[in-house]
Amino acid sequence: MTGAMILFLILAGLSIASSLLVIFQRNVVHSAVSLVATLFFIAILFVTLDAPMVGILQVLVYAGAIMVLFLFVIMLLHPGVLERRGVLWWGLGAVGAMLLIFELVPLLSESSWRAADQAPITGSFGSPEMLAQSLFTDFVLPFEIASVLLLVAILGAVVLAKREI
């Protein structure tokens, strides 16, 4: 039971617990705060997987901006009534999730994929320089398209949410 394994188990338990809280809370704001916690724990998992740049970007972009947007919209729309619960849907949802887990877990526990540290990596793996090199040489076209996509999303959101066009 090395330190890395203990850390992973703690983080895994916390992220599963907070993601369960996301779907089980009746209050929407509580769900949103639980999702922020889940994103934060997943970002810490990224950092333990030698991806510090992506982990920090996850906190900066996902937990720091997208979830703030979610919270704004929740507060704007202010759903006063807590939603009704249907037993049928809960049963179906639980059955669906259980099926998915029982299908995926044995498949993914194949012993042919053992250690996560298989490939030897340099000291700067996952650093900003390496990510930038990959983004600006191999993936420069998706990068540019992603910026156009963000522009389109901004314009679309502004037009959709305006009161009168």
């Binding site: 509580h30 920090i56 703030v68 704004f72």
Partner: protein, 364 residues
């Protein structure tokens, strides 16, 4: 292994100790300093055995006792869990941001080289922006959990202001990153020891003056200090998102705000004013450009560097307090216009101009 952990723990304790103490002392400087600026006496009534100590007893002993013994209530329709969580979410980023700010070069004890920075991340300054973006949550959740229209209004304004000025802050730092070529704050501080034209230290303020002004403005707006403190202004919206908080929770918000002042001062020092650099001080002593040199033992050099860092941080904290009691506050639409229509384009122009200059100088 254990020794490494002990060293890191000692550094973390030292930094937290310094930040929290400075935050407390800043409360005193704020009250007495504002009195000095406004030509009045300030708080001097609370005294121990007749010793009022220039208002120190009042601010550092009487105020915390008052805060901690007040009744801790949650508004009746408000959300109990979120109301208690919000001050913690506001205080946490303000304290952990200081982990990547270097307060000295290296301390060499025997054969152990200790980097005087709590955590040397290779993403460096992005960590600070990540924590700054987390500090919006304290405001948003505190405003919502109070179930109060003024609180919600203050919270929405505050969070919109914070996310707008985060962008300007980030873009203004890109110029510094391009000039020094690294994201790590310790490397940026070290690179500012170089001498331009043989005599001028390569501090960020000389290489990127526009970026300094933009960053300073954006940092003051992020911490919601006057002139940008409309979200928490007393006469305007009854203290905004603070209104339903009293006692220990308000003390946490308060301490979080002062800790953010210290963090902003620490960042400005590291990026633009050389961090722990004393002009002409190298690792073995002073080397003046006109030829003279003074040899100093290693511990004296370290002490000088840490002292210089502390002095610069205190100077910028004092500057922010001076700014608070000098300028009137902006109206909210003026704040948003400044952030989006003036700081953001200026920051982009700064980035482009810096890029052109850097590439030209590299190819010469």
């Amino acid at each position: 292994m254990i020794i490494e952990l002990c060293i890191i723990a000692a550094k973390a304790f030292l930094v937290l100790f310094m930040v929290l103490n400075l935050a407390g002392i800043l409360g005193w400087i704020e009250r007495k300093g504002s009195a000095l600026i406004q030509d009045r006496i300030g708080a001097n009534r609370a005294s121990v055995l007749g010793f009022a100590g220039l208002g120190l007893v009042n601010t550092l002993i009487a105020d915390p006792i008052k805060f901690l013994t007040k009744e801790d209530f949650v508004p009746p329709q408000g959300d109990r869990l979120l109301h208690t969580l919000a001050p913690c979410l506001a205080l946490f980023p303000a304290l952990v941001t200081f982990a990547v700010i270097p307060f000295g070069d290296v301390l060499i004890l025997g054969d152990r080289v200790i980097n005087l920075q709590v955590a040397n991340l290779n993403v460096g300054i992005l960590y600070i922006f990540a924590m700054a973006s987390l500090s919006v949550y304290g405001i948003v959740i505190g405003a919502w959990a109070s179930n109060n229209k003024f609180s919600l209004l203050g919270g929405v304004r505050g969070s919109a202001q914070m996310i707008s000025y985060e962008i300007a802050m980030g873009l203004s730092v890109i110029g510094i990153l391009m000039v020094y070529g690294t994201l790590e704050l310790q490397e940026i501080a070290r690179a500012q020891g170089a001498l331009l034209w043989g005599w001028l230290p390569a501090w960020g303020i000389f290489l990127q003056p526009v970026a300094f002004l933009l960053f300073f403005t954006a940092a003051v707006a992020e911490t919601k200090r006057i002139p940008f403190d409309l979200p928490e202004a007393e006469p305007e919206i009854v203290a905004g998102y603070h209104v339903e908080y009293s006692g220990g929770k308000f003390l946490m918000f308060f301490a979080g705000e002062f800790a953010e002042i210290v963090t902003a001062a620490g960042l400005i020092t590291t990026l633009f004013f050389g961090g722990w650099q004393v002009p002409f001080l190298m690792r073995d002593g002073f080397h003046f450009p006109w030829g003279g040199s003074v040899h100093l033992p290693h511990l004296a050099v370290v002490a000088l560097q840490v002292g210089a860092f502390t002095l610069k941080v205190i100077f910028f904290c004092w500057l922010q307090i001076l700014l608070r009691w000098t300028l009137p506050r902006f109206r909210y639409d003026q704040v948003m216009r400044l952030g989006w229509k003036m700081l953001l384009p200026l920051a982009l122009v700064n980035v482009m101009a810096t890029a052109v200059v850097v590439v030209t100088l590299q190819n010469l």
